[in-house]
């Protein structure tokens, strides 16, 4: 209890005092961009943590829900003059609503088929961003000139924007933390561990999985809106499948099921490539090696509850169980 409080206080201090002080010290736009990007990806990783690390559903299309939030915020802002205070929650709710619609038919799929379904959904949404030119402006992306306006106050300074992003991310992560470290989190974990057994405990497995998926997508949408408001320009490639994999890697490297681990994983995978900028394109190889090595030598990631290899094996294994009625069709 006191230990987790200590961690929380430390993180809040770091986010709202130490980092801003450093940023002001360097006073370069580039560092602000990195800090904002890191915060956004911490939220993306924390939201994926809920559905994949805690509830055990392999979600391969997370970036698409991030994209839904970003497009909703950007289009509402650019075309309809909807500002930050309304656009942000609407972005989250839109991502959640799409997640809900998608979850209804897919949630009863067996785990590995579910993973494939999320991959397909991610790809479909990406194609919508790319090809529905009337709405999304296609590959050219959407420009959003209006910045962040908080209840009539225009936030213009880099530091101010950083503070807004940090505050939204911090509150979101606290909510996700509360959800994953509570009895509700235990219920979700039981799905990850053995969902059939969880149903014998009276847990409505389908409903709980849908909840986790929707909540997770809501926060991905929030992260997307933050991205749109801070960069002022979004395009389909920001939400490509490779981004889903990047977020998943953060979760795996940090540790399936551990929120602090996942946050560190996100920081690592954002900061490492930036720190290695000077070595040129080799940096991607170095980052790849770090990821590979961490799975090989730290099967539970930095702080995980579950070994990633066992997790994958179980996901695949479920496919081969000869439980009657599941054969071939992939339905539970």
């Amino acid at each position: 209890m006191s230990k987790s409080r200590l961690i929380k206080t430390g993180l809040v201090l770091a986010a709202f005092a130490v980092v801003p002080a450093v940023l002001v010290g360097f006073d370069k736009g580039y560092y602000y961009q990195i800090a904002t990007l890191a915060a956004i990806f911490m939220l993306l990783a924390a939201s994926l943590h809920l559905v994949t690390g805690v509830a055990g559903l392999l979600q391969l299309g997370h970036a698409a829900f991030y994209g839904v939030g970003a497009y909703v915020a950007a289009i509402l802002g650019a075309d309809h003059g909807v500002g930050f205070t309304v656009g942000l929650p609407l972005a989250g709710l839109s991502a959640a609503a799409i997640a809900f619609l998608v979850a209804l038919p897919t949630m009863r799929l067996m785990s590995i088929y579910f993973a494939v379904a999320t991959l397909a959904i991610g790809q479909m949404l990406y194609l919508v961003f790319l090809n529905w030119v009337d709405l999304t402006n296609g590959p050219n992306g959407v420009m959003l000139f209006s910045g962040i306006n908080l209840f009539g106050i225009e936030i213009e300074s880099d530091l101010g924007i950083y503070y807004v992003v940090a505050a939204v991310v911090a509150v979101s992560i606290l909510v996700l933390n509360r959800l994953s470290h509570s009895y509700y989190g235990n219920a979700l974990r039981s799905l990850r561990e053995d969902d059939q057994c969880a149903s014998a405990m009276g847990i409505n497995v389908t409903v709980m999985k849908i909840q986790a998926f929707v909540i997770s997508s809501f926060f991905a949408g929030i992260a997307g809106a933050l991205w749109a408001y801070t960069t002022g320009y979004i395009s389909p490639n920001d939400f490509h499948f490779s981004q889903s994999i990047l977020i998943l890697t953060m979760v795996v490297v940090g540790g399936l099921g551990s929120l602090p681990g996942v946050l560190i994983g996100a920081l690592l995978l954002i900061l490492l490539p930036e720190a290695l900028r000077s070595v040129g394109d080799i940096r991607n190889i170095i980052v790849g090696l770090v990821m590979f090595g961490s799975i090989l030598f730290l099967p539970k990631g930095l702080f995980g509850e579950v070994s990633a290899l066992n997790f994958a094996r179980r996901l695949l294994g479920a496919n081969w169980s000869n439980d009657e009625g599941q054969k071939g069709i992939g339905w539970k």
Partner: protein, 252 residues
């Protein structure tokens, strides 16, 4: 005595194989009821039919007078039935306490909003129940250990404690003594009898006759999916059909 559970012509076929074949019987309130049979007799399948894990091919299950065939497993759990698994299914990457809490919270219910705001009214009860059950099975000292790190015997008790945290009216145990030595089995028998004395109705599956003969008030014997005996242990023990099934079957 009134029946808590009634099985009526329950049948389940897997392809051409009738794993459970036209079984009719009843379990009364407060009974300690045994189900035995050689390997592959259909005991686990019968439990799966009762608890909603497998739909029957035909026949009906009534629980507390209400038809429950066709309900899903979690709905049946909410009616007051709780089960353990033959192949020991605890949640390995969760602590002992968290494992047990799932039994309690499954019944009491938790939602995302209640756990965010309002400090869920159930939280207190979930924690109290979980501690109560931890102490009941003597695992309180292990509350913060990962379930995967417990010894096999302790995990068996953990699974029972988790089922008890549901505060069921009927507890069904699938081979709880499997893999235990004689002294552990004796202790388990004492524990199960104790639960029954507290008023819990228990249905117990065993593969070998010893434990069940000793503690059960009534027994059903299955062989090749069919009920071949249904009586008090003393009578079942003498039944020539039962002896033949056990001797003829692949005795272990």
């Amino acid at each position: 005595m009134t029946a808590i559970l009634e099985l009526d012509g329950l049948t389940r076929a897997f392809g051409g194989l009738k794993a459970v074949d036209n079984v009719t019987t009843r379990v009364d309130h407060g009974e300690l009821f045994g189900l035995i049979g050689p390997n592959g007799a259909g005991k686990t399948t019968l439990f799966n039919l009762i608890s909603g894990f497998t739909p029957p091919s035909s026949g009906e299950v009534r629980f507390k007078g209400e038809k429950i065939t066709g309900l899903s497993a979690h709905q049946i759990a909410h009616k007051g039935m709780s089960r353990t698994f033959q192949n020991l299914r605890v949640f390995p990457n969760m602590t002992v306490f968290d494992n047990i809490s799932v039994g309690a919270l499954g019944m009491l219910g938790v939602g995302p909003f209640s756990s965010l705001f309002g400090r869920s009214s159930h939280a207190k009860e979930i924690s109290e129940r979980s501690w109560e059950m931890l102490e009941k099975v003597g695992l309180a000292d292990h509350a913060d250990d990962l379930a995967a790190n417990l010894s096999y015997g302790k995990r068996k008790y953990l699974e029972i404690a988790r089922a008890l945290a549901m505060k069921p009216d009927l507890l069904i145990l699938d081979e709880p003594a499997a893999g235990m030595n004689d002294s552990e089995t004796t202790e388990l028998a004492r524990f199960i009898t104790g639960l029954n004395k507290e008023g819990l109705t228990i249905m117990l599956v065993e593969h070998d006759m010893g434990l069940v003969m000793g503690i059960c008030e009534r027994l059903v014997v299955l062989a090749s999916g069919r009920k071949i005996a249904d009586d008090v242990p003393a009578v079942v023990r003498q039944d020539p059909g039962v002896l033949a099934a056990y001797l003829g079957g692949d005795e272990e």
